[in-house]
Symmetry: C2
Subunit: 191 residues, 2 copies
DNA sequence: TTACACATGTAACACGTTACATGATTTT
DNA sequence: AAAATCATGTAACGTGTTACATGTGTAA
């Protein structure tokens, strides 16, 4: 039940309509938490009923902007501090890897090359976003900083996946060294 | 619709019952693709109806072991080679980071420390598994090798997340260097 | 005036989780 | 004899996706 808290969190920044929120999910959050507009509108209706949000204004073409109530703010904060993080992750790419032995070597290397390229491109996108934030292109408010942290995750995760695909491509059996030379995390390693 | 293909893939290794498959998801795949037993039994029924699998044997306490049919093998292979990978990922931890600004500095650093510890522990587990595979504790068959690759992903991803949390803890603003200096790609997109 | 972006919603379906129910075999 | 584990399933619910439906304001 993260969607409702995500919506509350976004509304804590500034009032927004279902449309706006839908956009923000597509642009920003979509890559870690996809949400289609039907789900968003539905959740907004429920959040309003439960008094976590209220209509702030009504605009042109029947746009309705919502804002969080105090109750809503309290609720996001409670979620952030008191509710255990759900660490479940869903990664089809890794699931598939368990079945790589069913592919021919040619199919597999083709696949891995595509994957590596994909992840590197995505990682580059996040790195650009991170740099823009660091340059101050979006100000230096606390919200911007939070997004900066999220972008860092996007960069690091996709970089890791790209490197993983490349590693797998070069035949892990040939290369005898394990997952990461053991040891603790030094700052920026690899690459 | 990855569950059915995952089931076919697991059955391609060896015949197994719903119970066995449920266990393998819990132990092995659960961390990248969770599936409860009700879903598994349901999917098995459908797979049997569609002739992708068939009952191999019936054991004690009405255990039913299934095996893949040729049609089933063809279907997993088709999935692996012809169906685009769904790159959607779902990571509550990263979603939350967008709302870190709603937490007090104390709450946040406490949170990040826990997160870092969690990911490091999980990463260590995967590294152990990887080492065991490399030592040949499970033989050197192609299936083992695929699992080795999956374990590598688990190690790398969780290491990356642990490092991310540590990085975030040390105040990203203070540390001026971006996500990873390396190459810059032309105005890249992400999504 | 036509097309496009804005804006909201419903309905049907697919997927996933939790709770409940049942019973057989093995271990203590 | 009781408890634990093996083993399968149903029902209800919650979440997420796709397709469909509708209409408004703005720019070409």
């Amino acid at each position: 039940m993260s969607l409702r808290h995500a919506l509350l969190g976004l509304l804590a920044e500034q009032p927004a309509s279902g449309w706006d929120l839908s956009r923000r999910f597509d642009d920003l959050l979509g890559s870690v938490w996809p949400a289609g507009h039907p789900q968003i509108y539905g959740e907004l209706r429920r959040l309003e009923q439960e008094a976590f949000i209220e209509v702030e204004s009504e605009g042109p073409r029947r746009r309705k902007a919502y804002q969080v109530t105090d109750l809503g703010i309290t609720e996001v904060r409670r979620w952030l501090t008191d509710v255990e993080v759900d660490h479940t992750l869903r990664l089809e790419a890794v699931l598939r890897s368990v079945f790589f032995w069913l592919m021919t070597p040619d199919q597999l290397s083709d696949h891995l090359r595509r994957e590596a390229a994909y992840y590197e491109a995505v990682a580059a996108g996040y790195r650009q976003l991170a740099e823009a934030k660091d340059r101050g292109d979006f100000g230096h408010g606390p919200q911007t900083q939070s997004v900066r942290i999220a972008a860092e995750a996007g960069a690091r995760l996709n970089t890791a996946l790209g490197e993983w695909a490349t590693w797998a491509l070069n035949g892990p059996t040939v290369d005898a060294n394990p997952a990461e030379p053991s040891g603790q995390t030094e700052s920026s390693d690899h690459r």
